[in-house]
């Protein structure tokens, strides 16, 4: 069962990073590129609206049929789907942060001769990230929980192993309780750490 812990952790952290890598740029596109923001909006609607389990099955069995590489890897598909779903969520989190930081920082950067893109990279993005970290804590917790869906496409994570043990021992209580405990253990420390780190940093910088 403990073997599943590292897989669950890997799916959660990797999809959080994938979500960050996609979600942060999306938030800025939506804030500053009005012309293409409808695409971002569409992406957000799709990935926030469809249940993760449907997406995982669709990508693994459906799209995986035509693109065995990379979707025949259950681990990849699970991380990919959760990463995109998280990108949709994080885009919204970061958009709120962009509003929170305000237009002033952008104007100050432009006044020094920075282009729009460079202002975003050097001035806005670092502050937006710090501003949003407490929110990212809850996003991570969400990902740990949703990684349990990966069980349905056969990823050897906590739920999968729990099920194997339940079948072998015929005990319908203990394995689930242990799984529940493991999930709490995985979520709580990192989510709390992100929250406190972000809050402290925000306070220190006056954000």
């Amino acid at each position: 069962m403990l073997g599943g812990v590292s897989t669950t952790l890997a799916i959660s952290l990797l999809s959080l990073l994938l979500g960050l890598a996609i979600g942060l740029p999306l938030a800025f596109i939506r804030a500053y590129q009005r012309s293409s923001s409808f695409l971002v909006e569409g992406f957000e609607k799709i990935f926030r609206g469809i249940p993760e389990i449907v997406l995982m099955l669709l990508f693994y069995w459906g799209i995986g049929l035509y693109f065995p590489f990379p979707f025949k890897s259950a681990f990849f598909t699970a991380t990919f789907v959760l990463g995109l779903r998280s990108a949709a969520n994080q885009s919204q989190i970061f958009r709120g942060a962009i509003r929170g930081i305000g237009e002033e920082q952008m104007v100050a950067a432009r006044s020094l001769g920075f282009s729009k893109l460079r202002s975003v990279v050097h001035v806005m993005a670092p502050q937006v990230f710090i501003f949003a970290t407490p929110g990212l804590g809850s996003e991570y917790a969400l990902l740990v929980k949703d990684s349990a869906y990966a069980f349905v496409i056969g990823v050897l994570e906590i739920m999968y192993n729990t099920n194997v043990i339940r079948k072998a021992t015929m005990d319908p209580v203990t394995p689930y309780l242990v799984a529940a405990f493991l999930y709490i253990l995985l979520t709580f420390p990192i989510a709390t750490w992100l929250d406190t780190w972000g809050s402290r940093k925000k306070k220190k910088l006056g954000l």
Partner: protein, 246 residues
């Protein structure tokens, strides 16, 4: 720097800049004053093209900034701007605030950028706070750092939008001292300010701005002893009364 027949309106009835033609030459210090809401800030922002004017032209040396296709980032790199509410980069230390544009806009090598940033901080006397974040500094220190940020790139001109009006009265002095130092070095400055004794001391020319237009221009003495326009007269009387009360 020059503006020719510059216009900017926010709404049909709210014209912040109404056909303003203005010129400032190298080494000059000009001071704009006038009632709040009269469009002084907007005018300053139009000069730096931080706000796009509706009509008219802005020139920096012989480059027309209002011509389509002109590289505005490059032009802005030659202009220093100091904001009323300072707007330092809050995630960076004082040193990094000043260094950022030297590194990423002027593309100076790390050591040279750092040396110049420290030099700028020294000039405004916040060098000892170089490794502090803006939130850890007083308003006066922050604004001096803001001036260092604008000044470090050796811009052709520095535009200052009410640099002291967001500060507590006891902190305005240190910022004014900094500006006085810059004036002595011959820095070209256009300052929006209502610090009258200071204006009288350093300005080559004062400009009374009201309802989106330049109402009266002249040497400081003219405003203090004999303002020509009725509006400037009334405004000066109110200002002087207020200064006395303080």
């Amino acid at each position: 720097m020059e503006s020719r027949h510059l216009w900017k309106a926010y709404e049909a009835h709210l014209v912040a800049v109404k056909d303003v033609s203005f010129r400032i030459s190298e080494g000059e210090i000009k001071l704009i004053f006038g009632p709040s809401g009269s469009g002084k800030s907007t005018f300053l922002r139009c000069l730096a093209m931080l706000t796009t004017p509706d009509k008219g032209d802005v020139f920096l040396r012989d480059v027309c900034l209002t011509k389509p296709g002109v590289d505005l980032n490059r032009a802005r790199a030659r202009i220093g701007f100091v904001f009323q509410h300072i707007w330092l980069f809050r995630h960076l230390t004082a040193l990094d605030n000043v260094e950022l544009a030297l590194r990423r806009v002027l593309k100076l090598p790390k050591t040279e950028a750092k040396e110049r940033a420290l030099q700028a901080l020294r000039e405004v006397k916040v060098e000892e706070w170089a490794h502090h974040y803006p939130a850890q500094l007083s308003g006066g220190q922050q604004q001096r750092e803001g001036i260092a940020r604008a000044l470090a790139r050796n811009p052709d001109i520095i535009l200052l939008d009410e640099p002291t009006s967001a500060l507590d009265p006891e902190l305005t002095g240190e910022v004014i001292d900094t500006l006085r130092d810059l004036a002595k070095k011959g820095t070209t400055m256009l300052i929006v300010s209502h610090e009258m004794p200071f204006a009288r001391e350093i300005a080559d020319e004062m400009i009374f701005y009201d309802e989106g237009a330049i109402v009266e221009t002249g040497p400081p003495e003219q405003f203090f002893t004999n303002p020509q326009s009725e509006r400037a007269q009334k405004f000066m009387i109110r200002l002087i009364k207020k200064t006395k009360r303080e």
